[in-house]
């Protein structure tokens, strides 16, 4: 039986032994193609007969509205933003992720704690502190990190309709204009993600490759993971 582990303290009254599903994380910075990978992976897994659920940043029932409102005015302190995202994550963790894992679903997560930690550090949070804040979360079964250089993101961002205020880190302006700030901010976020990748052992993927190649790779790895743990379970339950 595979081991479900928390990064630290665990949350009140959580019994990890009944979590039979899988926690699969797609990480990467803004505009790198995570959503496409998640969507295709979902279709692939459902074809194989797995029940799939997904979640992503600021999609919580509790805090998504509040975060949206706070972003409109940019009137929330930056550390408070970090904690607001932590609240959003915790709500999704307890009310979306854990129930799905209890029901044996494959939970696909479009950015987990790592992006939140990276963005927090770039906005001035202490790296040890913010990791401690998220220490209630569970270690995923796999983390795929779509890696790209900030400069390589630019054409994708332009194609998508231009630079976004928050994706350019304009709340902590890092340059004269959106473009300059975007490059510097994204470089810093990517730098932090690279560090986290080393610390937590991500499966790093060159995101400049063709999207079909990327999704094929991820789908193959995830299918192998699910099949091996299902096989292990079958042999364990045999007399």
């Amino acid at each position: 039986m595979r081991q479900v582990e928390s990064y630290g303290v665990g949350i009140p009254r959580l019994d990890p032994s009944d979590l039979t599903g899988w926690l699969i994380v797609i990480e990467g910075t803004d505009g790198v193609g995570r959503t496409t990978v998640v969507n295709r992976l979902r279709t692939h897994l459902e074809k194989l007969g797995y029940a799939v659920a997904e979640t992503g940043l600021s999609r919580s029932d509790l805090a998504s509205r509040g975060i949206r409102r706070a972003k409109q005015g940019n009137t929330l302190g930056s550390n408070a933003f970090n904690l607001f995202y932590a609240t959003d994550f915790a709500d999704r963790f307890e009310r979306q992720i854990l129930p799905a894992l209890r029901s044996g679903f494959v939970m696909l997560i479009d950015r987990y704690i790592y992006s939140l930690i990276a963005r927090g550090i770039v906005r001035g949070a202490d790296s040890e502190w913010i990791r401690e804040v998220y220490s209630f979360s569970l270690k995923p079964d796999a983390v795929f990190y779509l890696r790209i250089e900030a400069e390589e993101l630019v054409p994708r961002i332009l194609q998508r309709g231009g630079f976004d205020y928050w994706e350019s880190g304009m709340d902590i302006p890092m340059g004269e204009d959106l473009y300059e700030s975007f490059i510097r901010y994204q470089r810093r976020v990517i730098e932090e993600l690279d560090g986290l990748s080393r610390d937590y052992g991500f499966d790093t993927i060159d995101a400049t490759q063709d999207i079909d190649e990327i999704t094929d790779y991820v789908a193959e790895r995830v299918s192998a993971l699910l099949q091996s743990s299902t096989a292990a379970e079958n042999s364990a339950s045999r007399p």
């Binding site: 630290g8 303290v9 665990g10 949350i11 009140p12 009254r13 029932d61 509790l62 805090a63 509205r65 509040g66 409102r69 706070a70 005015g73 009137t75 929330l76 302190g77 930056s78 550390n79 408070a80 970090n82 904690l83 607001f84 932590a86 609240t87 915790a90 709500d91 307890e94 009310r95 202490d126 040890e128 502190w129 401690e132 804040v133 220490s135 209630f136």
Partner: protein
């Protein structure tokens, strides 16, 4: 003090931060209001900061409470979010400007409530690491029955989370409230020694408590004027900013609180 935990970071600001803590019905807010009136009358710049009052975050907290969707974890995090916003935008800037910040409930409220709800004590102390350590924190110690009488006689409509209904102590609202408050009270008693809170006997007469409170903070005010001018950046001391009011100048001790020998931190109240 655990490294990486609340209290491990010491920043020095020209202002002063006084905190009142205690269970509902301990009379702490009354005392803080009286203190604010006195301080303002004495010409000090006073800033009030109340628990759970960030204009942006409060809407989410209310939503979570109204729909009973908060768990111990999200209850803890949303209150930390609110607090963090007030620290960044209210408390720290005011302390930098040399003001007296009065906080009605502080991190100790979270330490008591969240731990009673089952949140890890070490984790919640780390969560609040960014909080400035107060100049003095007063704990208004009240026997449970006294506090319950004050609350239950005046305000019979208890709210779900206020009564700790979320942790299933009792199906009866009033009974749950009693049990929950008793647990919080026990947790506060632990915090007194852990963080050196100044204990106030909240069963004494209001005016007597106020006298003790004023006397306890007086020594911290006597040094306020000089420290503000000393610590201000040079350009600001040359031309005082509007946020550094004239009250920052050295002043004689007020008649309401005759200068006395400085009181020890724990000697202000006589409850223990």
């Amino acid at each position: 003090m655990t490294p990486g935990s609340y209290g491990s970071i010491h920043a020095s600001y020209p202002g002063r931060l006084f905190v009142v803590e205690g269970i509902d019905g301990s009379g702490k807010s009354t005392q803080l209001t009286l203190l604010a009136q006195w301080l303002r009358g004495e010409g000090y710049p006073v800033v009030f900061s109340e628990w759970n009052s960030s204009p942006i975050v409060r809407a989410t907290t209310s939503r979570g409470k109204r729909k009973a969707m908060l768990t111990p974890l999200t209850f803890s995090l949303i209150h930390a979010t609110d607090f963090s916003d007030r620290v960044e935008r209210e408390i720290v800037p005011s302390l930098k400007a040399g003001a007296i910040v009065l906080a009605d409930r502080y991190v100790y409220t979270a330490f008591a409530r969240d731990v009673v709800r089952g949140v890890d004590a070490r984790w919640v102390r780390a969560l609040y690491r960014f909080a400035p350590v107060p100049t003095m924190a007063f704990y208004f110690r009240t026997p449970l029955e006294v506090a319950l009488r004050r609350i239950l006689s005046g305000r019979p409509k208890l709210k779900y989370y206020e009564a700790g209904m979320d942790i299933g102590l009792s199906a009866d609202l009033q009974e749950s409230y009693r049990l929950f408050q008793a647990k919080i009270l026990a947790e506060y008693d632990e915090l007194v020694s852990e963080f050196g809170l100044t204990v106030m006997d909240a069963t004494r007469k209001v005016e007597m408590q106020q006298k003790i409170l004023r006397r306890a903070i007086q020594p911290h005010l006597d040094s306020l004027g000089t420290s503000v001018t000393n610590r201000m950046p040079a350009r600001e001391s040359a031309a005082p900013a509007p946020s550094a009011p004239p009250a920052a100048a050295p002043r004689p001790a007020s008649s309401a609180s005759p200068a006395t020998a400085p009181l020890g931190r724990r000697a202000a109240g006589d409850a223990s």
